[in-house]
């Protein structure tokens, strides 16, 4: 790493042509994939600038995904914390139950445009796998989803959903058998089937152009939020809060606010059993910069540069890295990254269920766990928006097990 990254004049102007957010990002992939990575970059740039592509995407977001998602004033939660007014951006109401579909719709249109005939994806919690299987079913494309064997076990309902949608789920047993290993296996598939296969990455990480492309497709979250909060309150929020694993829902919420410096951007990483135990998934709070899965970013690693296992109750946050734009936003100080433990997230899960009648995904519950601190810090006259990135039905069995209940 070089000198600390300078604070930019325009945060939204990144990455550069080489896919860099300051020192982070880039394209660390085997040569076999590199020509395809360039082809993807060119195809995405052309699609992004094509009004027909944008119109098709917009139509699908409205009529298939169900956008815009509501911005909901959580009155009892607001009263409970006794701080700022809390709004929830209801991404859990999207088709398939999370924000992941926003990106999948965009990328499947791109894959079709590129003439690719086979789709592969990786998944942790299964939300991205389900969203990928969904769009593949819609367009009649074969879909293989790589999922760590450990995650297959703890997210069985989502595995079944993917099968119902016609996808083949490959349980990955190598390494720690979780999300990072699923991504390794997907990359091995891609390098082997480079001619006909499109790799539908689910988070804002990996080699350029994925971090920028996934962010762009997810930025609909932040754009809608901005318009909705202006409509409701006549001003911008004081803070937006989102959970961060790879970081796609967070960057989708943050990005439209990057140059609105009055808006605090707060990401919440998974502290697992506690930061002090070393058993966590907090790449920024507990890691160092390095290279994995195509990008330079903060990673959990040992002193020798071997990647270490992440630990989190949430399969969707159980990843030793984070998207490169988050690494950069952390270094330049534009965003703040907090942590929440498994137990705090379980408490937050119950809290939202009891106060607002909403079961949050255990991933999103990490953000809820820090919401009280943020709301009190902002104060009574303030406004905070939390991105409720997914619904919690898939986690009911996990939550029950941790509460010592049999269902």
């Amino acid at each position: 790493m070089n000198a600390p990254t300078a604070k930019p004049n325009d945060y939204a102007a990144y990455p550069d042509a080489n896919g860099r957010f300051g020192d982070y990002g880039g394209r660390y992939v085997p040569e076999t994939l590199m020509p395809l990575v360039h082809e993807l970059d060119a195809a995405y740039s052309a699609a992004k600038a094509d009004p027909a592509f944008q119109a098709e995407l917009s139509g699908l977001l409205t009529h298939y995904v169900g956008r815009p998602s509501p911005l909901y004033l959580a009155e009892r939660l607001t009263a409970h914390f006794g701080g700022a007014k809390i709004y929830l951006k209801r991404e859990e109401l999207n088709h398939t139950g999370s924000h992941k579909i926003n990106n999948c719709i965009g990328q499947i249109l791109l894959a079709r445009r590129m003439g690719k005939t086979r789709i592969i994806a990786e998944t942790g919690a299964g939300q991205h796998g389900v969203a990928s299987a969904t769009v593949c079913a819609k367009y009649g494309l074969p879909c293989v989803v790589y999922m760590g064997a450990v995650d297959v076990e703890r997210q069985k309902p989502n595995v079944f959903r993917m099968n119902l949608l016609g996808a083949r789920v490959e349980a990955v047993t190598s390494g720690s058998a979780t999300l990072k290993d699923a991504m390794n296996e997907a990359l091995r598939d891609w390098v082997t089937n480079v001619h006909d296969t499109y790799y539908l990455i689910g988070t804002a990480a990996g080699m350029h152009p994925y971090p920028a492309m996934v962010r762009d497709f997810q930025s609909v979250i932040g754009r809608e939020t901005k318009a909705q909060v202006l409509e409701a309150e006549g001003r911008l929020p004081d803070a937006v809060v989102a959970c961060v694993g790879g970081g796609s829902n967070a960057i989708g919420m943050f990005h439209p606010f990057l140059n609105d410096e009055s808006v605090k951007l707060i990401g919440v990483e998974a502290a697992g059993e506690g930061m002090e135990t070393g058993r966590h998934a907090a790449a920024i709070n507990g890691g160092r910069p390095g290279v994995l899965h195509g990008n330079m970013t903060y990673l959990l690693q040992d002193p020798e540069g071997q990647i270490t296992e992440a630990h989190s109750i949430s399969a969707g946050l159980d990843y030793p890295g984070i998207g490169p734009e988050h690494s950069w936003l952390h270094d330049v100080g534009r965003a703040t990254y907090l942590t929440a433990t498994d137990l705090e997230s379980l408490e937050a899960f119950k809290l939202l269920a009891e106060l607002e009648g909403i079961l949050p995904a255990i991933e999103s519950a990490h953000a809820i766990a820090r919401l009280g601190d943020v709301a009190r810090d902002v104060g009574k006259d303030g406004i905070v928006v939390l991105n409720l990135s997914g619904r919690g039905d898939k986690d009911v069995a996990t939550v029950a097990a941790h509460l010592g209940m049999a269902i």
Partner: protein
């Protein structure tokens, strides 16, 4: 200048009119002592050059054999430091066989490129292959290696067009490594007839000797490829011998070196046997 060792070896091979046999082993597989014993035995068994893998937890371009080799090495406590120590130990008895380190970016990023280059040169390594550093990301590493006289060998693949081959050649020295199949190591098999025109393209782009690897498992295949290339790299088939001998409680070194002998012999015979491909 350690680049000199690679150049001298290929000059000698050219004088003999034969292709190089390049053996890949994972440092510390199955452990440091036996790994060193294998390494020391390779030249006598017929390895003209040696690739020494340094293990990484997430080897995204490797098939199951080398993934498992990396896991065995890591489980035995192998590190980048110990890999370099092993090479230094090897160099005490062999000053002529070129050694190319091969692995993934993160252990090097973690060490720092300049510090790594100094230590690798001091240990007696000659070059480096990093699977996940394509030409687009290669300059900082290439500069650090240049400063120590070490070669960087950027990989060429079936998907690299002529324009990319030129870019690859610009920052490659020692020899050119052609990955003969689109895929991970040790799964698909390379076909000499398919490989031949690509070897010619790679040679034309950089003028360096071209070694072919990633899909060669048998003496027959090694012999066929040795007729069309300047060198043949075998890795997965060797580390599978280690796995097999561990499973059957055999002496690891004997079994691996015997496989090396059969492959090296096939490569040596390639150009005196019938030249048909």
């Amino acid at each position: 200048m350690t680049k000199a060792r690679i150049d001298a070896r290929f000059a000698a091979l050219k004088a003999e009119n034969r292709a190089a046999f390049v053996a890949y082993v994972m440092a510390g597989d199955p452990d440091y002592d036996r790994g060193l014993e294998i390494l020391k035995g390779l030249p006598a068994a017929g390895a003209d050059l040696i690739e020494v893998g340094f293990p990484f937890s997430d080897p995204m371009a490797e098939g199951p054999p080398i993934q498992r080799a990396a896991q065995r090495a890591l489980a035995s406590g192998m590190t980048l430091n110990k890999t370099l120590a092993m090479i230094a130990e090897f160099r005490k008895g062999d000053q002529t066989t070129p050694i190319i380190l091969m692995g993934y970016a993160n252990p090097l990023v973690n060490r720092g490129f300049a510090a790594f280059a100094q230590d690798a040169a001091a240990a007696g390594a000659d070059g480096l292959i990093v699977v996940d550093i394509p030409p687009e990301e290669a300059d900082p590493l290439a500069d650090a290696l240049d400063a120590e006289g070490l070669s960087l060998l950027l990989l060429s693949t079936p998907t690299s067009d002529d324009a990319r081959l030129k870019v690859i050649a610009r920052r490659t020295s020692g020899f050119a490594y052609y990955v003969s199949v689109a895929g991970v190591t040790g799964v698909k098999e390379a076909d000499a007839a398919t490989v031949a025109p690509h070897v010619a393209r790679v040679r034309a782009a950089g003028g360096l000797p071209v070694c072919v690897g990633f899909g060669i498992k048998t003496p027959e295949r090694a012999e066929a490829v040795a007729r069309v290339a300047d060198g043949v790299v075998v890795g997965s088939a060797l580390v599978e011998e280690i796995a097999a001998s561990l499973a059957m409680n055999e002496t690891v070194t004997t079994r691996v070196l015997s496989k090396v002998e059969s492959l090296a012999k096939a490569v040596r015979l390639a150009r005196v046997a019938s030249p048909t491909v």
